[in-house]
């Protein structure tokens, strides 16, 4: 067996039989992703309609389409409505297999319309990647046996890849001294301005005070986070997955405490995909409801 086949075995577990718990969890997870996607679509649409005036930084398709057209005439809101309707059709498996892909394209457009103002946030990337995996799964692996296994396996693959990629981006961007605690001082001071600007006041918390008081403490905080990113890819192995996920969730709490950056959807999604919740459901449920079977 080749190395990529071994990874495939770990991600998709082809020998494992499908259980009612897996079906129920999968549909609940899909609902979670779509609720966030629809919520983002409306948030971005409303903000773009109210606040966006000019394109400062074109991202993605905005390099080829003038997205400032969407700032007026409620077009961003119409796009949010389209995403909502098509996402619901996709959730109930009504319509063609490629419908999810249309949702993804519209969702991408909504992101580049909203974030044309200079900032490139990443906190919504996991939801975006999940919609992508649902789109590929629905198109190429339809059916209640194939789709859940592909979607969950591919999401885990891309999450692990993303964290390890972030490790190397830092190694290439700065070098091996990236973990120097003084770098954290600069980021804490930078983020403190964002908080001051948002709230009108800023007071450092306990962890920030500790980091600002000692280069060694700040360096250890960075080193732990950086190491956690490096081992992100170990999520691909099912036995290691819960442990790696726990470390990554801890890292996100650390980032929230030191840099005031919240990752609500990120952390919730990690909690959902990082642990074998289907086993817990299987303990209490013997068969999946008919509607769940129909909609998977």
């Amino acid at each position: 067996m080749k190395w990529h086949e071994r990874i495939g075995q770990q991600l998709f577990e082809p020998e494992r039989d499908q259980s009612p718990g897996e079906l129920i969890f999968f549909k609940c997870f899909e609902l979670f992703v779509l609720v966030w996607a629809i919520s983002y679509a409306w948030d971005w649409g409303i903000y773009s309609q109210l606040r966006n005036v000019e394109v400062v930084l074109p991202l993605g398709m905005a390099n080829y389409i003038d997205v400032s057209l969407f700032f007026d005439h409620n077009l961003a809101l119409i796009n949010a409505a389209l995403i909502t309707v098509l996402a619901l059709f996709s959730f109930f498996r009504a319509g063609p297999k490629w419908l999810y892909m249309v949702v993804l394209v519209l969702f991408h457009m909504q992101y580049v319309i909203r974030y044309s103002q200079g900032e490139i946030p990443h906190s919504q990337n996991l939801i975006g990647m999940s919609v992508l995996c649902f789109a590929i799964g629905a198109w190429f692996f339809p059916g209640k046996k194939e789709m859940p296994r592909f979607v969950m396996g591919s999401i885990i693959f891309f999450i692990g890849l993303g964290y390890t990629s972030a490790f190397f981006a830092k190694l290439i961007g700065t070098g091996i001294n990236w973990y120097d605690g003084r770098h954290l001082w600069l980021w804490i001071s930078e983020k403190s301005i964002d908080i001051l600007s948002r709230e009108g006041v800023y007071n450092p918390n306990f962890l920030q005070q500790m980091a600002l008081g000692s280069t060694a403490v700040a360096s250890v905080i960075l080193l732990i986070g950086w190491f956690t990113e490096l081992i992100g890819f170990t999520m691909w192995w099912k036995k290691l997955r819960p442990y790696t996920t726990t470390l990554i969730i801890g890292m996100h709490f650390g980032i929230t405490l030191t840099m005031n950056i919240r990752f609500d959807a990120f952390v919730m999604q990690l909690i959902l995909v990082g642990y074998p919740w289907y086993r817990l459901i299987d303990r209490y449920i013997e068969s999946a409801p008919v509607l769940i079977k129909r909609w998977v």
Binding site: L11, E54, V56, L59, E119, F141, A166, G173, L186, S197
Partner: protein, 168 residues
């Protein structure tokens, strides 16, 4: 489900990964939701953010002067209270290279004249950098004075601080 099916899945993931790599490589690392996740990858560099100060009660001769964060004059305006995303605002101020009339007016529109009312708000850049081996200096640089109906540039700054191109 069997091994060949698992192989087909890895093949589809491989193709997706190839498209992922091509898109991020040709779009400076970002093609949402694809990304190389470059956040915080360049450590130790000086940074520039932005904030808004209410300078209504400050004398005119003071409002344009640079000041350290610790002894700032004026009161910070909480952008959340006026419905503006502070990250967007910060990027708009720090990344705009040519402050044309429409760009300057866009700041006024972003704040909302109804929120400004009779006040004078200073859109300020905030610069941070390491000083020596063990401290960070944060300096506030007044940039645009915004009222309900006008926007003024800082007369103490050079034109090149507002216009990258020769003919704005």
């Amino acid at each position: 489900m069997n091994l060949p099916e698992s192989r087909r899945r890895m093949k589809i993931i491989g193709i997706t990964l190839l498209i992922y790599a091509m898109l991020v490589a040709s779009h400076e690392g970002e093609f949402w939701p694809f990304s190389i996740y470059p956040m915080f990858s360049q450590a130790g560099n000086p940074w520039t953010r932005a904030m808004v100060m209410d300078v209504t009660d400050l004398p005119d001769e003071e409002i344009w002067l640079n000041q350290p964060l610790e002894s700032k004059a004026g009161t910070p305006v909480a952008l959340r209270e006026i419905g503006v995303d502070q990250i967007d605002y910060s990027n708009f101020i720090s990344k705009t290279e040519n402050w044309t009339d429409s760009r300057r007016d866009a700041v006024r529109t972003m704040f909302g004249p109804e929120n400004i009312g009779e006040a004078r708000w200073m859109a300020a850049k905030v610069h941070g950098r390491m000083i020596g081996e063990d401290s960070v200096a944060v300096q506030i640089q007044p940039f645009l004075l915004v009222t309900a109906d006008s926007v003024y540039m800082n007369p103490l700054l050079d034109e090149s601080d507002y216009f990258l191109e020769e003919n704005p």
